[in-house]
Every structure is written in C-alpha cells, then in structure tokens.
C-alpha cells in the first residue's frame, strides 16, 4: 500500500515538463508584467530600475503627450472592435444560418471557401489588400474607374477618415470564417425535432430563427464576442502591414497593440528607446480590461438553465 502511494508521485514526471514550459514562459511573464509596470524605465539589461509606484499609470492616463496617444489608441481599438462585431460577426451569423439549413445544397463548398482567409497570415492579407486598395494602380480603383464611378475612388488607407474603417473591414474579411463555423456548429446541435415542432405550429422561417435558433446559440455568441474582444485588443499585424507601427495616417489607425509595440518594445519617435515600465502599464491596463470584459460577456450570455 505504501509502495503504491509512492508510485502515485511518479506522475509528476509526466506533469513537470509541460508545467515547466507553461509556467516559465507564459504564466510568469504575464504575472511579472504587472510588477514591471510599477518600476521606472530601466537602463540596459534591467539595471537602474527603481520602484515608482503608480507613476507609469498616472503618466499614461494624464500626461498630456502620453495620454493623448493612449486614449487615442484606446478609442481606435474600441472602434475597431465595434466594426468587427458589426461586420464580421453579423455576417458570420447570417452565413451560418444559411449554411445550416437542412435542405441547403453545396454547403460544404461554401464553408471551405469562407474559411480560406483564416489560413492566410494577417501580414499577407494586409499587404495584399494594401495593393488592391491602392488608389492609382489597385484593382478596386480600376473596377470603379471602368464602371464610371471614378469619384468613389478614395485614398482609403491614406485618409484619416477612412483608414481605420478600411483596416477593420480587412480584418473582418480575414476572420469571418471562424465565428461562421462556430455558429454553424452551434446551430447543427439544435435537435431537428424542435424545428419540426415549430414548423407544425406554423412558425415562419424568420420566426424559427428569432425564437429558436438564435436563442439556442446564445452561449456561442458569448464565446465569439470574447474571442473578438481579446483578439482585437491585441491586434497589431494588420495595422503593421497596411499602415505602419505608428498607426498612420497621423495615428488614426493606432491601436493598443501598435502603441504597446512602440512604447514597450521598439521605442517611440523621437527618443527611440523603449520604456518597459510604461509599456508594462499599457499591458497591465489591457489585461485588466480584458479580464473584466470576459467576465462581463460571460455573465451576459450564460445560457439560462
């Protein structure tokens, strides 16, 4: 008996390698970023770091120059999230409703096509659309010119008024496949009898959607919202590819992700030296907001039991 109990502890040999990598390279850096946000900018190799309390946060939220960038990026990220929710996720629900009709033909072919962009690198998507949207040589401009709609050709990526929306729409184009297939899987789980019963009761197509299909996939809606929220508040690649890490033109596409990169990793113009303390303050604020958001969304979309 004693031997057997001892034997149980050899399970640690199976657990420890995975735990090691996960704890050291994921849990620890995430947790320690919170501590770093309470320290001043360090010298090379971490020397000369001093504890400054909440100074980084105070600077981030109130210092005229720094906070202007932060609140700008904050607002832009919310707008980016909003466009993605409206375009990407609404399209995804519409596609999933169409694809999951029992009598729908060719559903698989459509699914395969809708999902293709998900497998592309964001960088490649961004570069590709940047070429397509080029107001002089790009394909869209040429189509519009041929249709005699030349006045609709705009510097979509060069004009502050359109740049962020354009970038967000490209992001929606790329990711719509994931929520579409999640909704699709959720809709497939609805038992046929339920829909047949509604049919016998004389429910219309729209009636079935509103009273049965959508309410039953409410938990999936929650998960999709969370995924969109978390991914959008970390978005970086799409702006980096289509504009640059400065969120051009004049910071109109600057997101939390690009701001974090400039401040904490690459160094801001004109100083060019990264500030890990301030960067960690951005990371920690984002982290707290993500946690609050995730808990809130989960609470709102729990399936009633």
């Amino acid at each position: 008996m004693k031997n057997r109990k001892l034997g149980q502890y050899t399970w640690y040999c199976y657990l420890v390698p995975a735990l090691f990598f996960y704890a050291v390279f994921m849990a620890w850096p995430l947790a320690d970023s919170i501590r770093l946000s309470l320290y001043s900018a360090s010298g090379p190799a971490g020397a000369g770091r001093t504890f400054v309390g909440f100074d980084n946060y105070i600077r981030l939220f109130t210092d005229p120059d720094t906070s202007a960038r932060f609140w700008g990026a904050f607002g832009n990220t919310w707008y980016f999230f909003f466009i993605n929710m409206v375009c990407q996720n609404v399209l995804a629900i519409v596609f999933a409703l169409m694809l999951s009709e029992r009598t729908m033909k060719g559903s698989r072919v459509y699914q395969t096509i809708i999902f293709i962009p998900v497998t592309l690198a964001i960088l490649v998507t961004g570069y590709l659309w940047k070429l397509i949207l080029n107001p002089q040589w790009g394909a869209i401009a040429q189509i519009l010119t041929k249709l005699d709609l030349k006045e609709l050709v705009k510097p979509w990526l060069g004009d502050e008024r359109y740049a962020l929306t354009t970038v967000a729409l490209v992001s929606s184009w790329q990711w719509v496949g994931i929520p579409a297939m999640m909704f699709f899987a959720g809709l497939q789980n609805i038992p046929d009898e339920l829909l047949e019963a509604a049919e016998i009761d004389g429910a219309s197509k729209l009636g079935k959607i509103l009273s049965i299909r959508l309410p039953l996939i409410k938990p999936v809606i929650g998960i999709v919202t969370i995924l969109t929220f978390v991914n959008n508040f970390n978005a970086f690649d799409v702006v980096f590819a289509m504009e640059n890490a400065n969120g051009a033109p004049s910071y109109s596409t600057d997101l939390i992700g690009t701001l974090f990169y400039r401040v904490g990793i690459a160094g801001q113009h004109p100083v060019g030296i990264p500030n890990p303390g301030l960067g960690s303050a951005i990371a920690t604020s984002t982290f707290i907001m993500l946690m609050a958001g995730v808990v809130g969304i989960l609470g709102l979309t729990k399936s009633e039991k």
């Binding site: 060719g106 699914q111 999902f115 999640m182």
Partner: protein
C-alpha cells in the same frame, strides 16, 4: 400537400445561394489576383489585372528564389513550426495522461491553471519575455521561439487531450495493468494510438498561429539567418515595393503551402481551428 410547390421553392434557398456566392467572390478575388498577377509582366498587371496572363512571366519567381534568402526563411519557419508542434503534443499528452489518471486536488488545480491560458494572449507579457530571451542569450536565434510556442500551445493541448483520454474505456487499459505493463508502455501503446484524432486537432489548431506568427519573430529576431518566413516577407515586400509581380510572387509563395494543406484537409482544419469553442 397544398403548400408543396412553395415549400419546394423555399428549399432552393435562392437568396442564400446569391449571398454566399457573392461572398465567395469577395474571398476568392484577392487570392485570384494575387496568383495570376504574380505571373504577369509589370505593364500587363496594369492593363488587365484580372484575366489570365497573356504572356506568362516566370522571372519573378526565378529572381525571388535566386536573389533572396527565401529558402532559408522557409526552412526556419518549418523547423520552428514542426518542432514546436511535436513538443506541444508530446508534453501535452504526457501531462493530460497524468491529470486524468492521478485525480486529486493538486491535479485539478494544475488542469485549471493550464486551461486559464486558453484565453490569455501571451503578447501582453512580451516585455518580460524579451528580457528573459536576452538573459538566456537567445536573442536573434530561432531557439527563442520554441519555448514560447510550446507555452502557447499547451493550454488547448491539455484541454482537448484530457477530454479524449477520459473517454478511453477503462477496460482497454485494465488488461495491460493486470499484465504488469508500465505506465509509459500503456501511454505509448494504448493511449497515443487511441487519441490520434485529438492529436491531429491540436496540431492543426497550433499550426496556423505558429506558421503565421509575426509578433514574436519581429521582437526577437533581427539577423537574416534566423528570420522566419513572414519576417522575410516584410523585408522582401519593402525591397521589391515597386515591382508588383515580384511582391505578389513572394506573397503567393508564403501563402500557398498553408492554403494547399488546408484544401487537402479542410474538414480537419475547420474542426481544429474552431476547437473548444462549442464545448467551452
């Protein structure tokens, strides 16, 4: 019976087909222009951006292969992606095997600790990771990417694999236990073959983010020899900027491997990339 003609009409889903076909066009059009224009001469791209090339131009591909470090970038990405996925699967399945078979409060906690990582974006911890990578002397080396990708891949691995191992019927392992087979042998000869579909799901789930990751190579790697494919693409995009045919050749070359893999096993990709969403 009276409603049957209208029902038949409804079952054709004309509106759905129109909507989905239009979207299919929106999806395929950029990819089509990317591929066909990479085979055109500069001027032909401008004259006719949508049709098949009248004169095929293979020079862009030739010069990308000749003058750039494309193959080196490709090799680096392949090594990092395949190596990390294998390690995620090995470490993840070992840990899941232990979590399922050694049930107590500790392993319950360890399980939840892993699962918490599914929603956490590791990007947020980048400043600390950068310091760690510097301290370990791994800056500018592809070795910096392995531990980070392994850590990123483990939560979903533990989540999916523990479910599958739990579902293995007890009778299957019982006989081996009575025969005195060691744990490691049961793991290798019974567990691993039984959970192959789950291993495929986890592998595919991680394949796309590892292969397509820009962020970590961007902040860790600066020297040419260690650059991954995407990092190389950023360099070549800038370098060839005015020569669209070359730029498109680079983009096509970097996108085609994953697209082809996807088209040959699209079901597994869709299942893998949406894994955990509905159960969660």
């Amino acid at each position: 019976m009276k409603s049957s003609p209208s029902l038949k009409w409804q079952n054709r889903h004309l509106g759905s087909h129109i909507t989905l076909s239009l979207w299919a066009l929106v999806v395929l059009f950029p990819i089509w222009t990317m591929i066909v224009n990479s085979f055109k001469f500069k001027l032909d791209i401008y004259k006719d951006p949508f049709g098949l090339p009248k004169k095929w131009n293979f020079d862009s591909y030739g010069s990308v292969f000749r003058d750039s470090d494309f193959f080196m970038y490709f090799r680096n990405s392949l090594a990092v992606t395949v190596g990390s996925i294998i390690l995620v699967l090995v470490l993840g399945s070992l840990a899941s095997y232990a979590i399922v078979n050694w049930k107590n409060r500790q392993t319950r906690f360890i399980y939840l600790f892993f699962i918490a990582g599914m929603m956490l974006p590791l990007k947020i911890g980048s400043i600390k990771l950068l310091e760690m990578v510097k301290a370990l002397g791994l800056l500018n080396s592809i070795w910096a990417l392995f531990p980070i990708y392994i850590a990123m891949g483990l939560p979903i691995a533990v989540f999916v694999l523990t479910q599958f191992i739990t579902d293995i019927p007890y009778e299957l392992t019982e006989a081996s236990v009575i025969d005195g087979a060691s744990r490691l042998r049961i793991y290798a000869q019974i567990i691993i073959p039984m959970i192959q579909p789950a291993l495929a799901t986890v592998g595919i789930y991680n394949l796309v983010p590892f292969w397509n990751d820009l962020w970590f190579p961007l902040i860790f790697i600066n020297n040419e020899e260690s650059k991954t494919l995407l990092l190389g693409v950023t360099r070549l995009f800038g370098q060839y900027q005015t020569d669209w045919s070359k730029v498109l050749a680079v983009l096509t070359l970097s996108a085609i491997p994953v697209i082809l893999l996807y088209l040959t096993m699209s079901r597994q990709f869709i299942k893998g990339l949406t894994a955990g969403a509905v159960k969660g």
